[in-house]
């Protein structure tokens, strides 16, 4: 279970992270990565603190953070299942697998199951085109995915 953090804690922790990266030339992305790692998402309050500390505008920090899908606005589910939906995997039947995942989890892409167990996301190419369809579960890649394998993966995620 993740502890719910107050605005004050977030601000303090963000300041510490910014401080730790103060020697870097372009510190914004490393800071966002660290916060994502720490909180599981990048809270809005943290963005305001980063802007203040790095002497950037709120808009600029928001522009950068929102550009990257992996910097989340809210925490993900306990497991993150990403299915590749790029051309090579599509040609190997990834669209059917995507539909299967949505039905099984009863959510659409970008959603999280109501018990907070699984977040389902699309990804565009994991570099495994030679052995697609491909997926990624909690950072680990899975190749040659099929209906059975996907089912097992979802079951392992606690569904």
């Amino acid at each position: 279970m993740r502890v719910i953090l107050s605005e004050k804690d977030i601000a303090e922790r963000t300041r510490a992270v910014v401080e730790a990266h103060s020697e870097l030339k372009g510190p914004l992305l490393p800071i966002l990565h660290e916060l994502q790692h720490e909180f599981g998402h990048v809270p809005e309050g943290a963005l305001r603190v980063i802007a203040e500390e790095l002497n950037l505008s709120r808009a600029e920090v928001h522009g950068v953070a929102s550009f990257y899908h992996d910097f989340r606005e809210a925490p993900a589910g306990r497991h993150v299942l990403k299915i590749c939906r790029a051309e090579a995997c599509q040609s190997m039947g990834a669209d059917d697998l995507a539909g299967q995942a949505e039905t099984r989890l009863d959510i659409t892409f970008g959603g999280t199951t109501s018990d907070g167990a699984v977040t389902l996301e699309a990804v565009y190419c994991l570099g495994l085109c030679a052995c697609g369809p491909a997926a990624m579960v909690d950072g680990k890649v899975v190749a040659r995915l099929d209906a059975g394998k996907l089912d097992t993966l979802i079951t392992e995620c606690g569904q």
């Binding site: 809005e44 963005l47 305001r48 802007a51 002497n55 950037l56 505008s57 709120r58 808009a59 600029e60 920090v61 928001h62 522009g63 929102s66 550009f67």
Partner: protein
């Protein structure tokens, strides 16, 4: 007449000296190295289709419409991002390019509504123009797929990509459905304005323009300067006035009537209706930029409070009576003559306005000198920059700033002292920030942490947060460091300054009593920080000093100005681009009103009335004898009124009751007079004590000139007829003639001709020359026929630059047990001066009342909470306002603005003033702050008086 057309070259001009010749579509064109192909092509008269490029911002290369083919190079590079090269052969229209452009346009239009006929930008839309230019005839893609255009899809489901209009800003709307994400607004906000309030959020098809963090414009960091609206090629960001009225059909270039930057604008008109004000790119002060006031806050001109009929009354407890111009002027003239008959020639006078034109100001001082036959003329510059006139006159020989605003582009180290350019002079603030982002260093000397100390991409190298009232000690300590560490520019001083006075000054400054360590206890500025700042200014390259009223409005205002001049001379920072001493003038024509002889001791051109040769110039022209006795200054007029020897005054465009210090004294003075004539747009606070009200005209309703802070004479052009019937210069002429003067000026150009004929620094100024050059910086005479952007180039105007000792003398206004805090005053971006204009515009959404800034420590000690009413009391009086708790101010210092009459901040300020010029000490008042329930007794009483004296009798 038509619209004033401005060519958009697509990318900014290159400053390189080396020229490059290339061929564009068979035409040879020669441009500076570093110019883009797009710009070079436009200079040859060939417009390459474009959407994301505009010459106010750097090339971006995202729209893919401006592609060209270059012989010997592969592919189709974008012309905005490709620099020219010698011998290059460019083709802008080939079959391949046409196909690409048509395809790109088709994609743009496939996610853009096809409502051109009912769109606000119809007729002023670059997307529309480009669709025409590339010959787009058909869009093959429908709206069935993903789009940002339709609120609902074909099956009636909500379209998640669609966003509603953002109407939160009072002056413009943001309609995301019309956005092509060209990023021009984002870049204008960053590069031109320097606020960085906008970004592109998301990526790919999800990319959207976002103010702040997906906020509404009003809630974001946006300062409403209008740069984004100007940059937008579509109707995405559009002025609400254009949406309401429609496109303008003609435009006239004129000058903004707010601050001393003097921005040039195109007043875009539909008939006599003002549609919008658009900053003019050829304006040499603003270079195409604007702020929220000049760009949008002109609504006061048609506000219902504006008085359009002359009014009179016998005493101030009576209601006003509307009368004809004839009756009002005869009434006023008779009263003034009667007063002079009874109390003598010296018993009446005038106050000229820094809001009015040079020509109008000239006439008002002529009225007192030639018709009243005394020198009782003064102006609001008395209460702002009179020490500048004195200090710079004494040291350099001219009472004005030394540079043009363009000079900031070559500055390496900037000292900003007692000024808050991002609020008070926003367009200059933006130009300064641009230079700072390029690497120039900044030193801020101010009790308060102004935005320039730290805001996105700006951080001052040093902030010397001095205690209010200790400017002289700090400036002298800077000189001490420069002198004792041998950082001065000996060659410059030897060549250009008086040697004996320099020796004397060195002896003075080197005294250990003036060291940063010695004065630290008084100033509160850490000695080491001050030393570093001095070294930076003296050794960091081109050093420029910009200062404002935080320097002048002190008991030692003139001394600080002299100290600043000393610093510039010591370091050789005078006489070329990038350096200098630059007073930031508060009002649009405060420089001009001083130039025009508004002061009681000076005839136009800063020449003393004692000087018989100067008097004779005017005497022979005016056919009267001019008094050689300097007249009364504003505070002296009020003193004399209380004593009963000064009985009548004609005040043009100034609200002394609200703007001048020690309100009780001002009101007592006005109340003691028999004839107060107020000539203004509104029944201002002073009018509560007036007997005659003459309706004024706005800057939109008259011809004339304003002179800005860089001595630039800018034309003001009439764009509509005066709603009150007469331009202000005509009203003054009518009053003079009612007193028997027989003036017959038909146009302000005739007044300028008289100014030029009598005043050497204006000798060659004519309206024809202004028409030709756009603007001229005085001195403009036979030696400098085209004006003088930078002064003292080969030597000081007075001959040798003069160092003068600057002994620090603490003000008599001191803190003590009863009044332990120091109050200092200032202003904010959205409001202007006493607020008579800006309070009557939508600008009030940003600032609806004056707030008292107080440090958390001081607030806690007094049990004051944020937003709570507090009583603010000084030795002079007390008032109430709401508190704002912030660490922008240091402990022991409180700060407020004076934009709202109900606050009456000047009830608090004292009548201490500058030793040389009587400029009031607004910036230092010892006060106490405590919790309160609401308005003070004075405020309630004043409100009653104000309501009573503003009654206008119903017409019969």
């Amino acid at each position: 007449m038509g619209l004033v057309h401005e060519t958009d070259y697509g990318t900014p001009a290159s400053k390189a000296e080396k020229q490059v010749t290339l061929t564009v579509d068979g035409f040879e064109v020669t441009v500076p190295e570093g110019t883009s192909i797009m710009r070079a092509s436009m200079e040859a008269g060939i417009a390459i289709p474009k959407l994301c490029a505009t010459d106010m911002v750097d090339a971006f290369g995202s729209c893919r419409l401006c592609l060209v083919e270059i012989e010997g190079r592969r592919g189709t590079p974008s012309s905005c991002t490709t620099p020219v090269a010698d011998g290059m052969v460019v083709h802008t229209q080939t079959g391949r390019l046409k196909d690409i452009r048509k395809g790109v346009m088709e994609l743009y239009i496939s996610d853009h509504p096809l409502d051109c006929l009912t769109c606000a930008a119809n007729g002023d839309c670059e997307l529309q123009d480009m669709a025409g230019a590339v010959g787009l005839r058909d869009v093959r893609y429908g709206y069935e797929g993903g789009n940002h255009v339709k609120a609902r899809d074909t099956s009636g489901e909500q379209n998640a990509r669609w966003m509603a209009k953002d109407e939160s800003n009072p002056y413009f709307t943001y309609d995301p459905s019309k956005c092509i994400v060209c990023s021009r607004c984002v870049r204008a906000c960053e590069e031109v304005q320097g606020t960085f309030a906008l970004t592109i959020e998301g990526r790919g098809f999800e990319s959207r323009v976002s103010p702040g963090m997906h906020e509404q414009f009003l809630a974001s960091e946006c300062v409403s300067c209008g740069a984004c609206v100007q940059a937008c090629p579509t109707a995405t960001l559009t002025e609400k006035s254009v949406i309401e009225i429609g496109q303008p059909e003609h435009s006239v270039v004129t000058t903004c009537a707010y601050c001393g930057v003097g921005c040039s604008f195109k007043a875009e008109m539909r008939g006599e209706e003002l549609v919008r004000m658009v900053p003019y790119k050829d304006g040499k002060a603003n270079r195409g930029h604007s702020c929220v006031k000049g760009r949008f806050a002109y609504g006061y001109a048609s506000h219902k409070d504006r008085i359009l009929e002359p009014m009179i009354r016998d005493s101030i407890d009576q209601p006003w009576r509307e009368v004809s111009w004839d009756e009002a002027l005869t009434f006023a003239a008779n009263k003034l003559r009667a007063i002079q008959f009874e109390h003598g020639r010296e018993s009446i006078g005038v106050i000229t306005s820094s809001r009015c034109t040079n020509e109008e100001t000239y006439l008002v001082q002529k009225l007192t000198r030639a018709v009243f036959r005394n020198n009782n003329t003064d102006t609001c510059a008395r209460v702002c920059h009179s020490p500048t006139g004195y200090g710079l006159g004494q040291t350099f020989g001219t009472s004005a700033g030394t540079q043009d605003f363009d000079s900031v582009e070559d500055t390496d180290v900037v000292i900003v002292i007692g000024a808050n350019p991002t609020d008070g002079h926003p367009v200059f603030g933006s130009r300064l920030k641009k230079r700072l982002r390029q690497g120039a260093k900044l030193i801020v000397i101010d009790p308060r942490r102004i935005d320039l100390v730290k805001s996105p991409h700006i951080r001052a190298a040093h902030h010397l947060a001095l205690r209010p009232g200790t400017n002289v000690a700090v400036v002298t300590a800077l000189a001490h460091v420069i002198v004792t560490e041998g950082l001065f520019d000996e060659a410059f001083i030897r060549e250009r300054c008086d040697g004996d006075e320099f020796q004397d000054y060195v002896e003075f400054a080197a005294d250990p009593a003036h060291s940063p360590e010695a004065v630290e206890a008084v100033t509160g500025v850490p000695a080491e920080e001050l030393r570093k700042a001095a070294r930076l200014y003296a050794t960091g390259g081109n050093g420029a000093i910009y200062y404002g009223l935080g320097v002048t409005e002190h008991s030692q205002g003139s001394t600080t100005v002299i100290g600043i001049a000393n610093l510039a001379m010591l370091t050789g920072n005078i006489g070329r681009r990038g350096v200098g001493v630059n007073p930031l003038r508060g009002q649009n024509n405060v420089q001009g009103s001083c130039d025009m002889g508004s002061f009681p001791h000076e005839l136009p051109g800063y020449r003393h009335v004692k000087n018989p040769e100067v008097r004779s110039i005017f005497e022979s022209l005016w056919g009267v004898e001019i008094s050689d006795e300097p007249g009364l200054r504003i505070p002296n007029m009020l003193d004399a009124a209380v004593e009963g020897t000064f009985k009548g005054i004609y005040i043009q465009g100034e609200d002394i009751l609200q703007s001048d210090p020690d309100t009780h004294h001002v009101s007592a003075g006005l109340a003691a007079m028999d004839c107060v004539i107020v000539h203004d747009l509104f029944l201002n606070e002073t009018a509560n004590y007036a007997h005659v009200f003459l309706p004024g005209s706005t800057f939109l309703e008259k011809d004339g000139t304003f002179t800005n802070a860089e001595r630039r004479i800018n034309r003001v052009r009439k764009v509509m007829s005066p709603r009150n019937g007469y331009a202000d210069w005509e009203v003054t002429q009518l009053l003079a003639n009612a007193m028997g003067a027989n003036w017959s000026y038909k146009h302000p150009s005739e007044i300028m001709a008289e100014i030029a004929a009598t005043t050497p620094s204006f000798a060659n100024v004519t309206y024809e020359l202004l028409e030709e050059k756009g603007s001229i910086q005085w001195p403009c005479n036979d030696t400098t026929p085209e004006g003088s952007p930078i002064m003292h180039v080969d030597g000081f105007v007075r001959g040798k630059g003069r160092f003068i000792r600057t002994e620090y003398v603490a003000t008599d206004e001191r803190t003590g047990p009863r009044f332990p805090l120091l109050l200092t005053t200032g202003r904010i971006l959205s409001q202007y001066n006493v607020g008579a204009q800006t309070r009557r515009t939508e600008n009030v959404v940003w600032h609806e009342e004056d707030l008292l800034e107080i440090h958390p420590h001081d607030a806690e000690q007094r049990g004051v909470k944020d937003g709570q009413w507090v009583k603010l009391a000084s030795r002079a009086g007390e008032t109430s306002l709401r508190a704002k708790i912030t660490d922008r101010v240091a402990p022991g210092v409180v700060y407020t603005t004076f934009h709202h009459p109900v606050t009456q901040a000047n009830v608090i300020t004292t009548d201490y003033s500058d030793w040389a010029t009587n400029c009031p000490e607004y910036k230092v008042t010892a006060v106490q702050v405590g919790p309160s329930n609401g308005p003070s007794d004075w405020q309630t009483q004043y409100q009653e008086l104000s309501d009573r004296s503003r009654r206008i009798e119903a017409a019969e």
